[in-house]
């Protein structure tokens, strides 16, 4: 994995993406406001503290326990965009090939169907029993639209990103 051989570069990337976090005074209002932290091991204050200090944060499963509810960001007395920083840290992790397998699979569904949650037979039946068309007015029904989505995903290098760390 490139994280090990390019540690300085990745840390530099973290610092650049999370410059906002330097304003943190570790008051803990974020953790006290975090609904996930009440029930899971997520300690958002620690993630904020470590984000620009160590690349260990990238491998921490806690990074994916944030539901992006924004409570911490709303209440932060230093007005730090905490959730935006979490997303930026995740993006660095993903570029290093660190992602949860289920998320990789959701990504593959998007590449194939243009929907993260595509239609299935059971729901086609639900649709027709309601008097709706079997397929909705989305890329499911318009194949040229799906081709456009695939072109964009290719242009952004999304499929390669999904394969990172999965060789």
């Amino acid at each position: 994995m490139s994280a090990a051989c390019n540690k300085k570069g990745v840390l530099g990337q973290l610092k650049e993406n999370c410059a906002e976090i330097m304003k943190c005074m570790q008051c803990g209002v974020c953790s006290g406001s975090c609904p996930s932290g009440r029930h899971t091991s997520l300690n958002i204050r620690k993630i904020v503290r470590n984000a620009t200090r160590t690349t260990d944060v990238l491998n921490d499963e806690q990074l994916w326990m944030c539901t992006t509810c924004y409570n911490c960001q709303e209440r932060c007395p230093r007005n730090i965009d905490i959730v935006d920083s979490v997303l930026a840290i995740r993006a660095v992790a993903v570029r290093e090939g660190i992602m949860l397998e289920e998320h990789r699979n959701v990504g593959k569904l998007l590449v194939k169907h243009g929907h993260a949650v595509p239609i299935d037979e059971k729901n086609k039946l639900k649709r027709t029993s309601l008097g709706l068309e079997e397929l909705p007015e989305t890329v499911h029904k318009y194949s040229e639209g799906l081709e456009e989505v695939k072109t964009l995903l290719k242009s952004c290098g999304f499929e390669e990103l999904l394969e990172t760390g999965n060789e």
């Binding site: 499963e61 994916w64 539901t67 509810c69 929907h115 309601l130 995903l153 999304f158």
Partner: protein, 300 residues
């Protein structure tokens, strides 16, 4: 008032189509001018895709926005996730020139260009601001004499500086829309708290995410309501299918009916429960539907 284009997203048409039909029926009955967007995709989901890669997230979101720009219509979303994704992407691309140029270079490969001349709306704030509580009250044919736990969800209200709907801890507009159909909004502990589904939690760390759902469900049960009403199919799924998941994991039974606001509104506008897909939840809603039917029949 600008006309609207209806953005379906993934979960509404592909998992809870009753919400799609309820939306169409309600908008038509309230004379809201809307058309379909042909060939829209996933918004794309903010939790996973925005986390993964900003350019991918913006490229797909902007394509959806451009489809509506071409029709010169504002986008109407019926999901907090779609609203968060499309409204945030629209705002970013309208305000960050360099980013807009980068995304437009991707869009040029499919012959499209983001211009930034429409807005992204959420059905709840649209109904409140543009249709109005009084007009909804006037349209109600079957007032619903039920008790409701309102679940706002997160991305409808937050980040509040971008949403402009006020302090997320003191909001009332959704409760007012619920009361407009004759129902009573019951206060409960941690009402504004997250359902636990977002940010990629339900998809990858389901057991952890269900702890948050169970916390909400337990507080709602304490409050004693006939149903939960939400504004987002992902919250809807987490609170509905989540009850099955919790039963399988821990044996705890809740059996609380879960409705999207369009389904509640549809009932009050006189549409039958079966037309609104209320029986299509994972949770068994039979008793609740019987109660609704009795309530509707009593008013015939």
């Amino acid at each position: 008032m600008t006309g609207l284009s209806l953005f379906l997203g993934c979960l509404v048409p592909n998992r809870y189509p009753g919400i799609e039909l309820a939306t169409r029926l309600c908008l038509a009955k309230l004379d809201v001018d809307f058309v379909d967007i042909e060939g829209a995709s996933c918004c794309p989901a903010p939790g996973v895709f925005r986390s993964f890669d900003e350019a991918t997230w913006l490229a797909l979101a902007s394509r959806n926005i451009v489809l509506s720009e071409k029709m010169q219509r504002d986008i109407l979303t019926i999901c907090n996730g779609c609203f968060g994704s499309l409204a945030d992407a629209n705002h970013k691309l309208k305000t960050e020139t360099e980013l807009k140029a980068e995304i437009n270079s991707h869009l040029s490969k499919i012959g499209k260009e983001f211009r930034g001349n429409i807005d992204v709306r959420h059905i709840m704030e649209y109904l409140f601001r543009e249709v109005g509580v009084e007009q909804i009250k006037a349209a109600v044919e079957k007032p619903l004499n039920i008790k409701v736990a309102v679940h706002y969800g997160c991305h409808l209200l937050k980040p509040s500086r971008d949403r402009g709907l006020g302090n997320f801890e003191k909001v009332r507009f959704f409760d007012e829309l619920v009361e407009a159909v004759g129902a009573k909004s019951i206060d409960y502990t941690d009402k504004t708290e997250c359902c636990g589904a977002g940010g990629g939690m339900r998809s990858a760390l389901k057991e952890e995410s269900l702890k948050m759902a169970e916390h909400k469900l337990s507080k709602i049960e304490e409050a004693g309501v006939d149903c939960i009403v939400n504004a987002c199919p992902f919250c809807h799924m987490q609170l509905d299918a989540g009850q099955r998941d919790i039963r399988e994991n821990t044996g705890t039974e809740y059996n609380i009916p879960v409705l999207h606001y369009t389904q509640l509104l549809g009932l009050s506008l006189g549409f039958k429960p079966e037309m609104l897909g209320i029986s299509m939840n994972t949770t068994n809603n039979t008793e609740f539907i019987e109660k609704l039917e009795k309530c509707q029949q009593a008013q015939d």
